[in-house]
């Protein structure tokens, strides 16, 4: 589990110590003087309210036991400080420096429930009409569940802390109240870690254009957001977009401008745009749109395919609805609930539809990849805002086509380019400010993207420099209100907030770190968990590909139909020539693709089939596997806090540790070898030949190496001391297994033919 704070004089709490004192044994008369303890506060952190004694239920029992301590609400977090003395902290390898395992950053709170006797009520406003609930249950956006019992503290204190927490977590607030604006860590060394390209300067953009060898027109006219408040200060558009077009674009607040995303080495490129509302009567936007399309098309005379994502992918409301259902399977209050939900696990997953949405996004990205890679056409993807599913698809396409984005810095740069500069409405999509009137805008679009990346990573692990732990931490970091990265709706909002001398703060411009400065959250050792030990760099791959041949496959499919046979022409992408009317028809064609008879299998293209048959090149085009068994639940993110599913001494971590051990051994050998040879004859060749094998290792701390057996499958997220050594034995199985059984097979005997001779 993430452990508390930066380890100062005060003791971070531990859930590992189970208090066996039953509630009745606490004698209220003989109560010791109240000792309220505060967590180590971050710079700028202020305590709002606190209460003690509060009983924190442990998660692994049936909510019968717990630890006493103090519950504190600050402007950054809700924190629980245990009264128990902290055991020496040896097993924390993966400490978050900002918040610990018993801290919930305010933004990370998802839902709060009040427990009244046996009932659980969703809390939506801090006003308590009747009595204070006996229990406060907090569901977090990083899937943790906390349950606190309020009955041992004063009614007054209980009320105060309950209302305080609810107020600060759920009530709408102004952006200025977000902790990032108070956080004044003395981060003098705040630097752009690891060369992540931020895409906030002309230079960043031109470098990227140069890297992909594309030719487009740089737009610097939006430096002070005169063109559009939604677009970044600098961006690229097709080369023959004219000044006049910018005049038009200004009218539509930048909508309709094809924003360059990425250029394929063949010269074709991917663009995205916010769709213009097209009225039949109004000819101006139509003419403008037509012109824009021509601009995309005549960029080197490529043909253009357009795709309106709002027609072919689930709507944002559907995405939100689906995720709301899905996450519920992991916010488990107790063991009984866990085993109950285990029975119908697969069909529940399916009904939530989340995995299917992931599959659809990946599928769509594959289609775009085909256009760029095989047909060499320009692609223009669009949707209403041009900053939601467009970001998902464009970044996925780039991940699949460009191995640079599969490196750690490449990936961070991609997020900067497509999501931050791309103007994804993080603030509204996450509803960071809990504005009631913006609740309908809330949708986990960025998480959906990370989910898709995880599928790729899970299927083709050696292709990625970053690990699944990195993705999990990144998904958590969206809800840590310290970073500027995911706080705003647009570059314009960020710039105005961060540069303006604001009268409220009196502290001058906001200077909060970007999330990519991982040292704010993790020390160097913990950051090593972000690196995927299976990743190989390009050098080695080049060598390999020289050796391996690529057999050409000619499919002979003149024979009877098979399920895998596909129509040679697909209809969902539209060949765009010159007319807007044709573009409008795309919508109908896209609809056609969603019709029930077009099963996913039928829509797999020959391009995809051919790719599947080729030997996998981790530094080439990387496509996802999309069939039923291939799309899976992101186990680490979703199961890490659930005690029932921890495999003690098992899980993939066991293998990764062995790998890391061996990598350490090899590195040590090489060091010795180099010393022996004076570093001349051995050092050179050995190093250049094989350093990929151990260079990007995440070396585990030495004391961990030989103890991999004791790690749990949710490592590095849950410390093992918290898990029982007793096996989890499923309950409620009888209700589960209802065998549909017309012949009463279940009642038959195994050997029904013979009767037992009675003695």
């Amino acid at each position: 589990m993430l452990s508390l704070g930066s380890g100062g004089a005060k003791q971070p709490p531990k859930a590992s110590f189970v208090s066996y004192v039953t509630p009745e044994e606490i004698n209220p008369e003989k109560e010791p003087p109240k000792k309220e303890r505060y967590p180590d506060l971050l710079p700028g952190e202020v305590v709002f309210c606190s209460a003690s004694p509060i009983l924190k239920y442990t998660q692994d029992e049936l909510s019968q036991r717990g630890v006493f301590g103090t519950l504190v609400c600050t402007n950054f977090r809700v924190s629980f400080i245990s009264d128990e003395v902290q055991v020496e902290d040896t097993i924390q390898h993966f400490k978050n420096k900002l918040y610990g395992e018993n801290d919930i950053p305010l933004m990370c709170v998802d839902n709060i429930y009040g427990g009244y006797d046996d009932k659980k009520k969703l809390i939506t406003c801090p006003l308590l009409k009747n009595k204070c609930p006996s229990k406060i249950i907090i569901h977090c956006k990083d899937l943790r569940v906390f349950q606190y019992c309020l009955t041992y503290t004063d009614e007054k204190d209980a009320r105060k802390i309950f209302q305080g927490i609810v107020h600060h977590c759920l009530e709408s607030k102004s952006l200025k109240c977000v902790f990032a604006f108070s956080y004044n860590a003395n981060n003098a060394e705040m630097q752009r870690k690891g060369r992540t390209v931020m895409f906030d300067s002309i230079d960043d953009w031109t470098q990227e254009m140069k890297r992909t060898k594309g030719v487009c027109r740089l737009v610097a006219e939006n430096q002070s957001f005169e063109l559009s408040q939604r677009l970044p200060q600098y961006f690229f558009v097709p080369a023959n977009v004219t000044e006049e077009d910018f005049q038009n674009a200004r009218k539509f607040n930048g909508k309709g401008l094809p924003i360059w995303c990425w250029s394929h080495h063949t010269g074709c490129a991917l663009f995205k745009t916010a769709a213009l509302p097209l009225m039949q009567e109004d000819t101006i936007p139509q003419a403008y749109m037509e012109k824009m399309l021509n601009a995309v098309a005549q960029n080197y005379l490529y043909s253009v395919k357009t795709e309106d994502l709002s027609d072919t992918l689930p709507s944002l409301q559907e995405v939100q609805l689906s995720y709301t259902k899905f996450k519920q399977f992991f916010l488990i209050d107790n063991s009984t609930e866990f085993w109950m939900s285990d029975v119908k696990w697969f069909s529940s997953l399916e009904n939530a539809g989340w995995l299917d949405i992931i599959r659809q996004c990946l599928q769509k990205a594959v289609e775009v990849v085909e256009c760029l890679e095989k047909e060499n056409t320009n692609v223009l993807i669009m949707e209403e805002e041009g900053s939601d599913l467009c970001c998902v698809i464009s970044s996925l396409v780039q991940l699949m086509l460009d191995p640079y984005y599969r490196t750690l810095t490449g990936f961070q740069s991609l997020v900067q380019k497509e999501w931050i500069a791309g103007g994804h409405n993080f603030q509204d999509r996450c509803n960071h400010l809990h504005h009631k009137d913006k609740e309908h805008l809330q949708t986990p679009v960025f998480l959906l993207f990370l989910e898709c990346v995880w599928q790729l990573l899970h299927q083709h692990s050696p292709a990625f420099q970053f690990s699944e732990t990195y993705l999990t931490v990144l998904s958590d970091s969206v809800h840590v209100p310290v970073f500027s990265t995911f706080l705003f709706n647009s570059v314009q909002q960020k710039v105005s907030m961060m540069t303006a001398e604001s009268p409220q703060t009196q502290r001058g411009p906001l200077n909060c770190p970007t999330v990519w400065d991982w040292s704010v959250q993790f020390d160097c050792r913990a950051q090593e968990f972000f690196i995927n030990p299976l990743y190989t760099d390009k050098l080695r791959v080049d060598k390999l590909t020289k050796k391996s041949h690529r057999p050409k496959h000619t499919r002979q499919l003149s024979l009877p139909s098979s399920a895998f046979k596909t129509p040679s022409k697909k209809g969902f992408f539209k060949e765009e020539t010159d007319s807007l009317k044709k573009m409008l028809r795309v919508k109908r064609l896209s609809r056609w693709m969603l019709s029930p008879d077009a099963s996913p299998q039928a829509s797999t293209s020959e391009f995809y089939e051919a790719w599947l048959r080729r030997p996998l090149d981790y530094h080439g085009v990387l496509l996802p596997l999309l069939d039923g068994p291939a799309v899976r639940v992101w186990m680490q993110r979703y199961l890490r806090w659930i005690p029932e599913v921890q495999i003690c001494g098992g899980g993939t971590v066991a293998v990764t540790n062995r790998l890391a051990e061996l990598q350490g051994e090899v590195r040590e050998l090489l060091r010795r070898l180099e010393r022996q040879c004076g570093g001349i004859d051995a050092g050179g060749p050995y190093h250049s030949d094989h350093h990929h094998l151990y260079d990007n290792v995440a070396p585990l701390p030495p004391h961990l190496l030989r103890s991999s057996v004791r790690l749990s499958s949710s490592f590095p997220f849950a410390s093992i001391r918290n898990w029982p050594f007793k096996p989890a034995i499923p309950t409620s199985m009888l209700q589960g297994l209802i065998v549909s059984d017309p012949d009463n097979m279940a009642d038959r005997e195994d050997e029904y033919t013979e009767t037992i001779s009675l003695v």
Binding site: L534, S599, P615, L639, R658, L659, Y686, M733, D747, R748
Partner: protein, 604 residues
């Protein structure tokens, strides 16, 4: 990754060819010189044929049938090969004929036991279909035609004799038996006490041979409670048996009651736990046919736990449903709910969680008795899985072989009836994938504990392939008694001969020996997954996912480490004795570098 040049439809794709020495025979098969026949394998017929491949459409080619296999190779550039042991065939049927229309109307439909169906089309002329059909029918089901199984015709020779892998006395001695509480009994030497038990049994020290005889009368098919495993630390035991013959009238048997009491007393367990693998209702229903379960009043020092595992018929239907959703095409639109509706993983969960409960009891010092109805299906699953969790020896390559020989083969899991070796009666109600289900459970455990098992997935696949193939004697017949009568161990080769003659491909490189650890897998649907690489392996799309990059990387690193070690040694030698540098440089490299891992710790 899957190299496309390798034909993807090999029936025994994972087994390294062990039959290069059969080159003489293979010369006979001129057009198919690339088929290496096994020693003792003989060609029967060959014919032009069309294979209706569900993944590539109809493929023209040639089929060869021997007394062991069906081999098909397609013409053309993209070669598709089928290599199916006839033992894997459960059903052969003619489809269509003179009255049906279309090009490929003379069809042959072959249902296999290994999750696939094969369809061929033949020409109308020359009765070619009739010939093929009759030959297949005869050689795929030799026992129904008075012919011997191929295992009795095979002339294969291996360096090691797999029949020596399991010696009951050695295994009991390894467990620390006999003790002052448990003794070895030879009462069943001639299979007189129980014809489906092995000859050597371990029973409570206090129980006399006469007691055993009496208890046998009260246990279904005389399968009395005998020790399977003893925990060296706490002397808690796993005892297996069949159901007591309680019947409708609720009969009691003092001898049986006393016998269980002796088991309880052997390590001072306060309450003996009896695990009845069946669902409660089934156990009750069994009373009608004379069976039943241990009642509270009769067995006062015992607690009875029902584990709710369903019977062989339910499991058979479940697998049938699973096949429907994975072959030939993987159900796409509603994969998860389809998977759930087969209940296959749910059954796996129940078996695993039953075994976890058994292991948990034993490791906390309580002796347990495990039974179902006859004690050869669910009981074998539970005891062997519990032993796999408790005893790390069974997680080694050889230990696992011992486990199978002991708990499954020795104690009379009815392989012949459950698999139907060489038998044409494909609809036999006695057939059931109980052993497959067990291997699946083992696979689930290897997935959850990737460093705890010395063997790899490949071994499990090879075991399942030869469960059906009839190439080896290992899984033939129902019990030891019948095996002895058929001189199995002298006339056939053991599967372990093949495996142990070249173990390298069955070794899990990540294996880390930990002798005293109890493994508790998580029996939750969150962790259980479909064994895609087995159940869907015929689908060419799935084969891609077989690669394990981690393993590949690990092997690369191992090679690199060995290379460095060798280099270091060479350097060291040249340093210490520069004059003999040249003559000595080859010596250290001859020693296997892997033997020097420990040296890493000591400075050179």
């Amino acid at each position: 990754m899957a190299s496309a040049s390798i034909p993807a439809y090999n029936s025994i794709p994972l087994e390294n060819s062990s039959s290069q020495n059969a080159s003489n025979e293979s010369l006979k098969m001129e057009p198919l010189a690339d088929v290496a026949l096994l020693p003792g394998e003989e060609r029967v017929i060959d014919k032009d044929i069309i294979y209706i491949c569900p993944f590539n459409g109809a493929l023209k080619g040639k089929v060869f049938i021997t007394n062991f296999r069906l081999y098909f190779k397609s013409d053309g550039d993209h070669v598709v090969v089928l290599d199916v042991p006839l033992g894997a065939i459960s059903r052969v049927e003619k489809m269509g004929g003179a009255s049906s229309r279309g090009e490929n109307s003379y069809g042959l439909d072959i249902t296999c036991k290994d999750m696939r169906n094969l369809r061929f089309a033949l020409k109308q002329e020359g009765h070619s279909r009739r010939d093929i059909f009759e030959i297949l029918f005869r050689y795929a089901f030799p026992l129904s035609h008075g012919l011997p199984l191929f295992a009795y015709l095979s002339q294969e020779k291996f360096d090691e004799n797999g029949w020596h892998v399991y010696k009951p006395m050695e295994e009991y001695r390894r467990q620390g038996l006999p003790t002052d509480k448990w003794r070895i009994s030879f009462i069943n030497e001639d299979y007189k006490l129980c014809d489906t038990y092995p000859t050597i049994l371990v029973v409570p020290f206090k129980a006399t041979e006469d007691d055993l005889q009496k208890v046998a009368t009260f246990r279904s098919r005389c399968r009395i409670p005998v020790l399977s495993w003893i925990n060296k630390e706490n002397q808690a035991v796993i005892v297996r048996c069949s159901q007591p013959l309680v019947g409708m009238s609720g009969k009691r048997n003092k001898d049986d009651e006393r016998y269980l009491e002796m088991i309880r007393e052997a390590n001072g367990t306060t309450k003996l736990t009896i695990f009845d693998a069946r669902p409660n209702v089934n156990a009750v229903a069994n009373k009608a046919t004379g069976g039943g379960y241990e009642g509270d009043d009769a067995y006062q020092n015992a607690e009875l736990v029902f584990l709710d595992i369903h019977n062989i018929h339910v499991m058979r239907e479940s697998l049938k449903k699973l096949k429907d959703i994975v072959y030939p095409n993987v159900e796409e639109a509603h994969w998860l709910s389809s998977l759930e509706s087969t209940h296959w993983l749910e059954h796996i969960k129940l078996v695993l969680s039953g075994a976890i409960q058994v292991a948990d009891k034993v490791s906390s010092g309580n002796s347990v008795v495990v039974h179902c109805s006859d004690g050869w299906d669910r009981t074998a699953q539970l005891t062997s899985l519990a032993m796999l969790m408790l005893d790390s020896h069974y997680r080694t390559l050889r230990g696992f072989q011992v486990l199978l020989e002991k708990e499954w083969i020795g104690f009379g899991h009815k392989f012949a009836s459950r698999i139907g070796h060489g038998d044409k009666n494909h609809a036999d109600q006695d057939r059931s994938p109980i052993f497959l289900q067990f291997i699946d459970c083992v696979w689930q455990m290897t997935k959850q504990f990737p460093t705890a098992f010395e063997f790899n997935e490949r071994l499990l696949m090879v075991i399942l392939d030869h469960l059906y193939s009839c190439r080896f004697g290992t899984f033939l017949y129902n019990c030891e008694n019948v095996r002895d009568n058929n001189l199995l161990r002298t006339k056939t080769v053991s599967l372990w001969s093949l495996v142990n003659s070249d173990t390298s491909s069955f070794i899990n490189p990540f294996y880390t020996e930990e002798s005293s650890r109890v493994l508790y897998p998580v029996a939750s649907m969150r962790h259980l997954e479909l064994w895609v690489t087995y159940y869907i392996r015929w689908n060419p799309r799935i084969r891609q996912q077989q690669q394990s990059p981690v393993e590949q990387r690990y092997r690369e690193l191992l090679a690199l480490r060995d290379q460095y070690l060798k280099k270091l040694q060479e350097l060291q030698l040249s340093d210490s004795s520069p004059s003999t540098h040249l003559s000595n440089s080859s010596t250290p490299s001859a020693a296997s570098p892997t033997q020097h891992i420990t040296r890493l710790q000591t400075p050179f």
